[in-house]
């Protein structure tokens, strides 16, 4: 009897473990064999977006891009931070890392855009449906905790090396905060506001667009901020599959044991992160219920201009 039980456990572990391994291999093969048209379409769309952003950002002269970013910093945050932005970008330029930095910026923007296009509707759906919430949460846990290298490999199998698998792997990694914070934001809209909407005859879409989304905006913008930060950290890792940008420089530094190059490129990543973080955070404060405060802050800033 005891032998039989042990045998059973071996058999069970073989069946389940082997099943999972075989299943995922089968899935990858099946997608490769039969999903080629879909894969090509996705690749073309993602590559198109990445290409367009890259071209746009690299097409602009460095001084103009630096000026634009500093102006946004001045408008949204303040003059101290505008100065910081300008100095940071000049520093990156002087270190000779302008091109990879801008390329990374393009990749981050593309990944963030795709994460939001997928993440915000998913978050809305999860806030509205218990079933979607249950399934979605599991999926998000998977996306957040599955080691990135595990899905970098299938991404390469599906899309080859380059920008496309890099962006897609980054989207997988960076989307969860957008989904979670969208769902949370919508659930946190005060019940009486939703009641008021329904009592005045809102249909579902009116309730969503006139009541829930505006009042969830601060939370959603916090999600955008987090997604962008995670995209930035992942896109550096994704350079290992040829995504390009600053990650390549970091990788070179590691491979050549060039500590100076590693520190320089790492610093560029950090500076870019700080600039993006502060700017997106400021948008989080400026929407929804806080709109008025943004307006008064705006007049304060205008007064500074006059001085």
């Amino acid at each position: 009897m005891a032998d039989a039980a042990i045998l059973d456990i071996d058999w069970l572990s073989e069946t389940i473990g082997g099943g999972i391994a075989r299943g995922s291999e089968w899935l990858v093969t099946a997608i490769l064999d039969h999903g080629q048209p879909a894969l090509t379409l996705i690749a073309a769309a993602v590559d198109g977006l990445g290409e367009a952003l890259d071209g746009l950002l690299l097409g602009v002269p460095p001084w103009l891009l630096a000026l634009v970013l500093s102006t946004v910093a001045l408008w949204r945050v303040g003059r101290g931070f505008a100065l910081f932005t300008l100095v940071s970008l000049c520093g990156i330029f002087v270190m000779g890392l302008w091109e990879p930095t801008v390329s990374t910026l393009g990749l981050v923007l593309a990944s963030t855009a795709l994460s939001l296009i997928g993440g915000v509707p998913l978050g809305i759906w999860m806030a509205r449906s218990k079933i979607a919430d249950g399934v979605g949460k599991t999926l998000l846990d998977l996306m957040q905790t599955m080691p990135a290298f595990v899905y970098l490999i299938p991404a390469v199998l599906f899309f080859g090396l380059g920008r496309v698998p890099g962006i897609i792997a980054t989207v997988v990694f960076a989307m969860p905060p957008a989904v979670r914070l969208t769902a949370l934001g919508i659930r946190q809209v005060p019940a009486e506001l939703v009641e008021a909407g329904r009592a005045f005859g809102c249909r579902g879409h009116q309730l969503l667009f006139k009541i829930q989304l505006p009042n969830a905006l601060p939370s959603i913008m916090a999600g955008v901020n987090q997604t962008m930060m995670m995209a930035l950290s992942m896109i550096v890792v994704a350079s290992m599959i040829g995504a390009g940008g600053l990650g390549n420089v970091v990788l070179q530094g590691i491979q050549r044991l060039d500590i100076g190059l590693g520190v320089q490129s790492g610093l560029a990543v950090v500076l870019l992160a700080v600039v993006l973080d502060r700017i997106t955070q400021s948008f989080g404060r400026g929407f929804g219920p806080d709109r008025r405060r943004r307006a008064t802050a705006g007049t304060a800033r205008r007064r500074w201009w006059r001085r």
């Binding site: 009486e192 008021a196 009592a199 005045f200 005859g201 505006p214 929804g288």
Partner: protein
């Protein structure tokens, strides 16, 4: 026990109009399968029994009432008595488990979602205890919300919302955000939002409960003024007896999910249905609610062999003609009857000074009855009396 006899005319403070909203057999239980709980309630089980037996929460055990056009109908009760649930059943923010809600004869419970949305957009507004203003919109945009949802053109809804804000005295604050306004002003915006689309029915859920007493009084005054202007049908939820007495045409008192009494404020003060109702209105200053008509009772006819001390002469049309002393010979001169609408404080002096119980007449001269000093004192004493009764069981 305080005895204030029902007046022959009944309550004429109730404005008579067509029935707008008729509720019958309305029940709400919060359960996935409401049937066992409903069955228990139909057999007369109480809210507590259903909770104990089935672990099912009962919102409304049973409610039935009719609300007439132009009436302010106050539903009152303690928290947990189901009053806030009832008002949400009326516009189906909460789906009823059973029963019918007829608006102008049409059963709202049977409407499809689209039909219900149409009714909500056209006929019904709601005012919330917590104001429920959208923080990202100005007062004007908030006031225009119902119109916006209903698809009214931008320019038109702006005008209508501005007019509504002007009616509640906030025209100068149209561009302010809710958090720039005081509580009272915020609720005025809530009122403007409800008024802007010109609904025929307004549901007000503890609309003034979150305001401090002075502002609350102002808002009640405001509501009564608006009501004099356009006589809507208002369902007002409250837990404040003074408030109910002040604004209500009729009051429904709820206890544990059931309506225990419906009547005019005077009727409820005069004859509370049970100790709960009596206790509820104990603190109310009766003299502010009652009118001369409510205290008037038929004159003493001098039964039990003893001749009446005064005779009140009434002609064939029921009009008051004069008072004779008990012997039937000498008339009492210079005794002016008091108008039925006179508030009690205004007749204290006259009742005290009159040689006989003071006759009360309607505006058309019809004789209602008389107010004796004893009846007046008993009426004013009712609060204390009721309190003593409640204490001694």
């Amino acid at each position: 026990m305080t005895t204030i006899l029902p007046t022959p005319t009944g309550s004429s403070s109730t404005r008579t109009g067509q029935v707008r909203l008729a509720v019958r057999g309305l029940r709400k239980v919060f359960a996935d399968d409401p049937r066992p709980a409903l069955e228990m309630l139909r057999r007369g089980a109480t809210k507590a029994e259903v909770l104990q037996r089935l672990n099912v929460n009962v919102g409304v055990a049973e409610a039935g009432f009719e609300i007439r056009a132009g009436e302010i109908f106050v539903i009152m009760g303690l928290s947990g008595s189901g009053k806030s649930t009832i008002v949400r059943l009326l516009n189906r923010l909460i789906e009823p488990s059973e029963g019918e809600i007829r608006l102008d004869g049409r059963d709202l419970t049977g409407l499809s979602y689209s039909e219900l949305v149409d009714v909500l957009r056209r006929d019904m507004s709601m005012v919330f205890q917590s104001f429920a203003l959208l923080p990202n919109r100005t007062a004007l945009e908030n006031a225009a919300f119902g119109l916006e949802v209903a698809g009214v053109k931008r320019r038109e809804r702006r005008e209508m919302a501005l007019a509504a804000l002007a009616r509640v005295g906030l025209a100068d604050y149209a561009d302010r955000y809710p958090d720039e306004l005081s509580g009272g002003m915020q609720q005025r915006v809530g009122l403007a939002r409800a008024l802007a689309k010109n609904p025929t029915i307004m549901l007000m859920d503890e609309a003034f409960s979150a305001l401090d007493p002075l502002i609350r009084g102002d808002m009640q005054e405001e509501l009564l003024r608006l009501q004099r202007e356009d006589a809507r049908t208002i369902v007002f939820i409250s837990h404040d007896a003074e408030e109910a007495m002040r604004i209500a045409d009729r009051i429904a008192v709820m206890q544990d999910g059931r309506i225990v009494q419906i009547g005019s404020p005077a009727e409820i003060l005069r004859a509370p249905a049970n100790d709960y109702v009596r206790a509820f209105f104990r603190g109310v200053d009766a003299s502010r609610v009652l009118r001369a008509r409510d205290l008037a009772r038929p004159p003493d006819d001098g039964t039990a062999g003893e001749p009446a001390r005064f005779r009140y002469r009434v002609d064939a049309a029921g009009h008051f003609r004069g008072v004779l002393a008990g012997d039937g010979a000498s008339a009492l001169f210079g005794l002016e009857p008091v108008a039925a609408d006179t508030p009690i404080p205004a007749i204290l002096g006259r009742v005290a000074a009159a040689p006989c119980p003071l006759p009360v007449v309607e505006a058309d001269g019809r004789f209602v009855g008389v107010i004796s000093r004893a009846a007046l004192l008993a009426a004013l004493d009712r609060g204390e009396d009721a309190g003593r009764e409640a204490r001694h069981g």
